[in-house]
Symmetry: C2
Subunit: 344 residues, 2 copies
DNA sequence: TTGAAAGCGGTACCAC
DNA sequence: GTGGTACCGCTTTCAA
């Protein structure tokens, strides 16, 4: 490896016959330096291809202009959108981003946080793993003076800024849409009761039904254990084979909806005529399946952008962490699976 | 922000009444230090929660244990798999990863490289943007002694290790499979002629046909301009409306295949009975569409892993960059779209 | 086996 | 407006 030694401030100072401090000030265009000196120094630096040694600067300033970003899953439409948004915003603000994934495991999460600390990121954006129920490991970061912003999957009791999807509103809109399409027996495949997002979506579902005086029997809400296609299939089967099958299903994620759709198609239930179907997350595949799947878009890109923005603002302002929640609105994407040609 | 000052080597030395260098050596378990000292120092460090200041270490050692990873697109099944693999391998080797995306733009790519240099990554893994035709910006990195490993979309003439998909082999397998399923008139929706991956897939297609004595007319190969669903649709229409329509189509990516499938379904061409269809990339959605799409899996995770492994080995060995190519084998995933029930 | 001390490349404070 | 210099925290050479 070449490793052609870079030119340093000292070199420039020597060659120009001035002091190191003057060179430093000139390059940073400090006030109290003559235009002349600035020009000379900058020209010389340019010509000799001077690049400041970031490690030295970081070390001296105790700042790295690097942010940490921790997600549960990387190969995932929503989270890759979040990362994309965070990267875009970070770039705008002059930061770089260290990415880590926890695969929904607490031990990986702890490791990631330690690594971030070790790499001296200035602050961290994190979406917690499903296993995380305490904030003690995260406190370490804060103790080190590295602010945290939580997004998507957050710990309510942990006092940091939070950027989350407006799950309640999204679920409400989805169910309201089904109602407006004339569906009257609307079931809901929900997730883990403990997970905040799941709870909010359930509440949105219930509120919409209540507002339209269409309360449903208890059996119409099923809590999935792991969010998988298989579960969507299995619970849809359960619902459809029950004495009182629904005429529409609101699924907590598109993956569940895929399983649901599979069952319905295999068993000759026509979508959307006989059964309406709607998902949540608006994966790329929602467009490509047949019938195309209506879904609630969570605007992952915006969430990443916002989380990064809040974090950088925090870094600049030096204010203490505020326990503030930023809700990002969803939007309903209506496709074939919930659109009845007739009765509306 | 709290910023509770961390304890330093100097603190430990003072409190223990020994010298800083001894503390440093003890903590790093250097030889030539008494077991006793090591134990005492480590215990004290542990107790007082000593964490070395990474920025100082980086500065001193001129190493960051951070790698750069540059991809054209982030919200993309293949690339997020690559990132996932690279992160996993990096973690194993004790490195962290700075991620950047170029959105297929050369100027973004240049910016990303500069940023990586600025952040003093030890080395970089990169998949080039479509706009990149010269390596001059990349040379900068190498001049700084930061090795590069290219993956997926590479510049042949740029002498660095390369980790790429065995496109030729994957295409060959796909076409061979179609032939074995009894298809005889196999068309190919290819990509940009200039792009290496596209060329290799075309060659694989041609070789398979040749080996089975099934050479096809020139009109059976169409070069898409931008890889989009619309193009898949448009060119499939062109093919099917021609005087001599094919009975199978090998698409350069799953996205093209989606457009193709859309056209075929809309126009009553039954898949796979009348027309066989096969894609390349094996997106998550290939499973969920109807009929499910046969596709060539590119093993993105493995590519990321391998790229990272090669890079770290390079970093450790300090050897000069070798112009070596690592081919990652694909695997054919056969699903409904290419499986004729009858004649095989 | 240990200590003293010289930096790594900047920044910023204090003089002049 | 400029120069001198201490120092950030750690590693490493040299000497004892």
């Amino acid at each position: 490896m070449a490793d052609r030694r870079r030119i340093t401030l000292k070199d420039i100072a020597r060659d120009l016959g001035i002091s190191v401090s003057t060179v430093s000030r000139a390059l940073n265009s400090y006030s109290g330096i003559s235009e002349d000196t600035i020009r000379t120094v900058k020209a010389y630096a340019e010509e000799h291809n001077y690049v400041p040694n970031t490690m030295a600067v970081n070390f001296r300033k105790n700042k790295t202009l690097t942010l940490g970003l921790i997600v549960p899953e990387l190969v995932h439409y929503f989270f890759s959108s979040v990362i994309s948004g965070a990267l875009a915003e970070a770039k705008k603000r002059g930061y770089t981003v260290l990415v880590s994934q926890t695969s929904e495991s607490l031990s990986n999460e702890i490791y990631a946080i330690r690594t971030m600390l070790g790499s001296s990121v200035d602050g961290v954006m994190i979406s917690l793993s499903n296993e995380t129920t305490t904030s003690e490991y995260l406190e370490e970061l804060i103790e080190e003076g590295r602010p945290i912003v939580q997004f998507d999957k957050v710990l309510e009791g942990f006092k940091t800024p939070k950027v989350i999807v407006d799950d309640f509103d999204g679920a409400y809109a989805a169910v309201e849409h089904l109602i407006q399409q004339g569906y009257k027996k609307i079931a809901h495949l929900n997730g883990f009761k403990q997970v905040t997002n799941a709870r909010h979506r359930l509440e949105g579902y219930q509120k919409a039904l209540k507002d339209y005086h269409l309360e449903q029997p208890e059996e119409y809400v099923i809590h999935c254990k792991d969010i998988s296609e298989e579960e969507g299939y299995r619970y849809t089967k359960e619902l459809m084979e029950s004495a009182n099958p629904p005429d529409a299903i609101f699924c907590i994620t598109d993956l569940i909806a895929m399983g649901s759709m599979k069952y319905l198609k295999e068993n000759g239930h026509r979508i959307p005529e006989e059964v309406g179907l709607i998902g949540f997350s608006n994966w790329d595949m929602a467009n490509f399946v047949t019938p195309s799947l209506s879904s609630v878009d969570q605007h992952g890109f915006q969430i990443g952008e916002k989380a990064c923005q809040v974090l950088v603002d925090l870094l600049k302002s030096q204010e203490p962490l505020e326990d503030k929640t930023y809700l990002i609105k969803t939007s309903l994407v209506v496709r074939e699976s919930s659109t009845r040609q007739s009765n509306v």
